[in-house]
């Protein structure tokens, strides 16, 4: 007896495509249509490190309760890639649906008794209606979108409007696209009972949200935050940050009179040079950034140490991917906590920001510049592939037009004129932060020699141990000062309600929140904290202090974030329990739940056996 799935607005649909066949835009239209029907949606690209030919998947979670994390179990698989067919069919959950191109008959051994098969002759329909081979390929994609509209009840007019908006000036492209949609739609209607038991229904659950990739939002943050110089080297999954920066710069950053660029983007020869350019530009008074991923951070590390020690405000967006080495370049992880927090040789530590939504990518990408300028040090924003390269439903981006950039302590020509003697590394205010001067400010005052070697308060080279200690201790003081400036954590309860805590950051947030709700239903209640920055503020320390056991959720093998907590706060390691996922897929609520429950059972057994013994 086949299990019947029956749900409204709660499902996971996976599209199995061939890389480079134009499926991405069809899949985007699908997600956007669901979103425009007012239903929360969360699409994820699962793609290989390849340009053309290898399998690629697009997984969409539709959930009207607003849970946006990945969920295991595929309710419907749209299989348009014969190469991955066996694996795809096997991945459908019992009672689910396998939609396939029936132009070629499905092999008998592909038939599972416990799932439904829906055959649509996509290629045949396309070949019968379009002449040019490339068009046949592209419209085949629209045919399956039309089929899906019939099967799960997506409003056709919503889809057509999206197409109209995609080609606002090319009206002649509309009819052939609409025709392809109708071909798929009509065939499904004529041959299957539509809609299926799993379907969508219009809601009003997305409010004023937007559906945007984290890297897009990051690029916009850099623009709004006043970045003028970008030095970069292509590396997945960070490349689209700089590409989006360039695209928006061309629209938003041209001088209205001359048409010249109020920005400079240099594609460097490698990541070392990219970071060198950022350091040079920041030293010379421009707001500058680079975007990279794990291997790039490794290459930039020598330079990051220079910026730390010479006190130069650089901004780095690290879009993390699976490591070590080349690792899983197109899969997600949070594996660079160590390498970013303590990048470079010698005693170094860096301000890190952890966004969990594109909205935060935007806000933090801009905030990085204020923090870097304020503390005259590298600031690294720790995004990841899941956040950066997938569209997320998120709050609209907001900017306060009264906001002024905090350029930190920079002396003007007038201020220098009034000074008796300028010392670049004099801690005048006692907060560890000294006054910078920008080259070209004053003809005879304020010049100094920037160096990565040890120096005194007047920037003069020295190997005097006591002077050196004074300098590095003063730099450490900035770290203490920074605790009051970096974003405070988010708490998910008004007051303490449990001795157990759960702690997470970045893209584990979606799944962690869902897991907490599920556990609450089972009577297991947690206090929760989402950390947004390193160094840890006092409230982070207090939360850890106030709870007996804390589950630390992160996406790497070695529980790096947990180690940083232990290192920074001298927390007893025993009270920090690891909840890890590092297979390259975004963490799921089920994984978090299972690991927490397993751990609770063990501790319960232990306490029982302790009592018995």
């Amino acid at each position: 007896m086949m299990k019947e799935l029956s749900t409204v607005n709660d499902m996971v649909i996976r599209f199995a495509n061939v890389n480079g066949t134009g499926s991405a835009s069809a899949n985007d239209i699908f997600s956007k249509a669901i979103f425009r029907m007012g239903i929360p949606v969360s699409p994820k690209n699962i793609f290989p490190s390849n340009i053309q030919g290898l399998p690629t998947w697009y997984e969409v979670r539709i959930n009207e309760d607003g849970y946006l994390g990945r969920r295991a179990g595929i309710d419907m698989l749209v299989g348009v890639n014969p190469q991955s067919q066996v694996k795809d069919i096997a991945s459908v959950r019992p009672g689910g649906y396998y939609l396939y191109d029936s132009t070629k008959k499905l092999h008998a051994e592909y038939i599972r008794e416990d799932i439904h098969y829906i055959g649509i002759p996509m290629m045949q329909l396309s070949m019968d209606n379009y002449e040019i081979p490339r068009m046949q390929q592209l419209f085949k994609n629209m045919i399956y979108v039309g089929t899906m509209a019939a099967l799960i009840d997506i409003e056709m007019e919503v889809i057509k409007n999206i197409i109209r908006e995609q080609f606002p000036t090319k009206e002649k492209l509309w009819p052939p696209n609409f025709k392809a949609l109708d071909l798929g739609y009509d065939f499904a209607k004529a041959n299957y009972t539509c809609p299926l038991h799993i379907r969508v229904e219009r809601r009003d659950k997305v409010g004023d949200s937007i559906l945007i990739e984290g890297n897009n939002a990051t690029a916009l943050g850099a623009i709004y935050g006043g970045a003028t110089v970008a030095g970069w080297y292509p590396i997945t999954p960070s490349t689209s940050v700089v590409k989006a920066f360039e695209t928006y710069c061309k629209k938003l950053r041209k001088d209205p009179k001359t048409g010249k660029n109020n920005y400079a983007i240099v594609q460097a020869e490698d990541e070392l040079a990219a970071m060198g350019m950022v350091i040079g530009a920041a030293w010379n008074g421009a707001r500058a950034f680079t975007a990279t991923s794990g291997p790039g951070v490794s290459l930039m590390s020598e330079f990051i140490g220079l910026a730390y020690f010479a006190e130069i405000p650089v901004v780095l967006y690290n879009i993390q991917r699976g490591g070590p080495s080349t690792g899983m370049p197109t899969r997600t992880q949070q594996p660079d906590i160590f390498s970013a927090a303590y990048a470079s040789h010698g005693d170094t530590k860096h301000i890190l920001l952890f966004p969990s939504t594109p909205t935060e990518c935007f806000e933090m990408a801009a905030e990085c510049f204020d923090l870097a300028d304020r503390f005259q040090t590298p600031v690294i924003m720790m995004s990841d592939l899941d956040l950066g390269m997938n569209s997320h439903m998120t709050a609209p981006l907001k900017w306060d037009d009264n906001k002024k950039y905090d350029l930190g302590k920079v002396l003007s020509a007038d201020e220098l004129e009034k000074m008796a003697k300028y010392g670049r590394y004099l801690d005048v205010d006692g907060d560890g932060i000294c006054y910078r001067t920008i080259p070209g400010t004053h003809p005879t005052k304020g010049s100094f020699f920037t160096r990565g070697t040890s120096r005194d308060e007047y920037a003069k080279y020295t190997e005097d141990g006591s002077v050196y200690v004074q300098v590095v201790d003063r730099i450490a003081k900035k770290w203490e000062t920074a605790k009051q400036y970096v974003p405070a954590p988010e708490f998910y309860q008004k007051e303490k309600r449990s001795n157990k805590g759960i702690l997470f950051f970045g893209t584990s947030t979606y799944a962690a929140i869902e897991a907490m709700d599920l556990l609450t239903k089972e009577g297991i209640v947690f206090d929760a904290m989402r950390i947004k920055a390193l160094p840890f503020n006092q409230s982070v320390e207090d939360f850890i202090e106030q709870h007996e056991a804390i589950f630390v959720v992160e996406q790497n093998r070695d529980a790096q974030f947990r180690s940083v907590i232990i290192n920074e706060l001298e927390t007893n390691p025993k009270k920090l329990i690891k909840v890890l996922n590092y297979d390259g897929s975004p963490i799921t609520a089920d994984t978090i739940m299972e690991k927490i429950k397993a751990s609770l059972e063990i501790s319960q057994k232990n306490s029982v056996s302790n009592k018995m013994s």
């Binding site: 660029n261 040079g280 530009a281 003809p443």
Partner: protein, 351 residues
């Protein structure tokens, strides 16, 4: 430690057009070995900046790591300096230049810094035609680590530290720069200030990448018999492409040249270079003839110095990229931030 020179200046010292004496262009006392070629180059930089009436704060001096890279402490103390990391001066200078196109960027490097660890960055700065003067103080060895051969040590050359002849081919940085499309290429000798000073001045007026490969003997490790980077060897084998005068824009020309043997090259800003050609069959604005002349010199065992090539039509990186005329580091939120209204439109495009 760094030694500081007394700041007292004789009131009678002659001032240049921007009101500075030559002493105002000096730096701290050098801690390099007595007789080091690098100190002579520092002297030439001081002389060139004084004569060109460069406002010291309008120049940024940037270096990598090594003996050569220490020298920016020893000249132009009123200029901001940046002693960065080994081999990475070009990228730091690129970024600094992007931030403020109005400054003069003087990059100082050595043969280890440029021809080995920083080879990649050097090549890419050349091909971008970054507007800077790039001086390599080339002594064929690693002084700070006690004299190991560098990649510019000539095949068969013997250093004091190595004792055996170099077994590898030398990298000719000037030839490489030409090959990579450099728009200004010169070679000089630390012992020839009359040639070096006008070359530096011309380089500073050139809009684009001005490369000066300056042979600068290491008195401690590579000034011995058998070394091709020793004072005696260079003096015995030196050949000049030309004798050179640099005449800044609007300065009256009062030098007379024998007709037929001299060439004028006019730079972008209207400055002129007078070259009294000493080398036959060579045209300073023709890359092929420069490459050819250098190959001939190599075959003849000459150390060819002087201006080797210049592209008077050079277009520097900012102009290639279309950067705005004002320095980017002067722009603030009123210009840079598109504001909430534009953001609302962007939000709408993601719904």
């Amino acid at each position: 430690m760094t030694y500081v020179k007394p700041t007292f200046r004789h009131p009678g010292l002659k001032k240049n057009k921007v009101g500075f004496t030559k002493a105002d262009y000096q730096g701290a006392i050098s801690t390099l070995c007595a007789g080091c070629g690098h100190d002579s180059i520092s002297g030439a930089i001081v002389q060139a900046c004084y004569e060109l009436s460069v406002e010291p704060h309008k120049l940024a001096k940037i270096s990598g790591i090594g003996c050569s890279s220490k020298t920016p402490t020893y000249f132009l103390s009123n200029s901001h300096g940046f002693n960065s990391v080994h081999g990475r001066m070009p990228s730091v200078t690129t970024g600094a230049n992007m931030a403020n196109r109005d400054l003069i960027f003087l990059g100082v490097s050595g043969d280890g810094d440029t021809a080995s660890i920083g080879m990649g960055q050097f090549c890419h700065a050349v091909r971008r035609n970054l507007n800077m003067v790039y001086i390599v103080m080339n002594n064929g060895c690693y002084g700070l680590t006690k004299g190991q051969d560098s990649a510019t040590a000539d095949f068969g050359s013997v250093s004091k530290a190595g004792k055996t002849p170099t077994t590898f081919q030398a990298i000719d940085l000037a030839g490489l720069a030409l090959e990579l499309g450099a728009t200004f290429v010169a070679r000089s000798f630390s012992g020839d200030k009359t040639q070096l000073v006008p070359l530096i001045k011309a380089g500073m007026s050139h809009p684009g990448f001005a490369f000066i490969d300056c042979i600068s003997p290491c008195v401690t490790f590579n000034n011995n018999k058998g070394s091709t980077k020793a004072y005696d060897y260079v003096r015995e084998h030196i050949e000049s492409t030309s004798s050179l005068d640099f005449v800044p824009f609007q300065e009256e020309i009062n030098v007379e040249y024998v007709e037929g043997s001299s060439t004028d090259v006019t730079l972008h800003d209207g400055s002129k270079m007078h070259l009294s050609k000493l080398s036959p069959n060579w045209n300073p604005t023709d890359r092929n003839s420069a490459v050819n002349r250098m190959q001939v010199a190599k075959t003849n065992g000459e150390v060819l110095t002087g201006l080797l090539y210049i592209d008077p039509e050079s277009t520097e990186l900012h102009d290639l990229m279309g950067t705005t005329d004002v320095p980017l580091n002067t722009l603030r939120e009123d210009v840079l931030c598109p504001g909430s209204e534009a953001l609302e439109k962007i939000n709408a495009s993601f719904r």
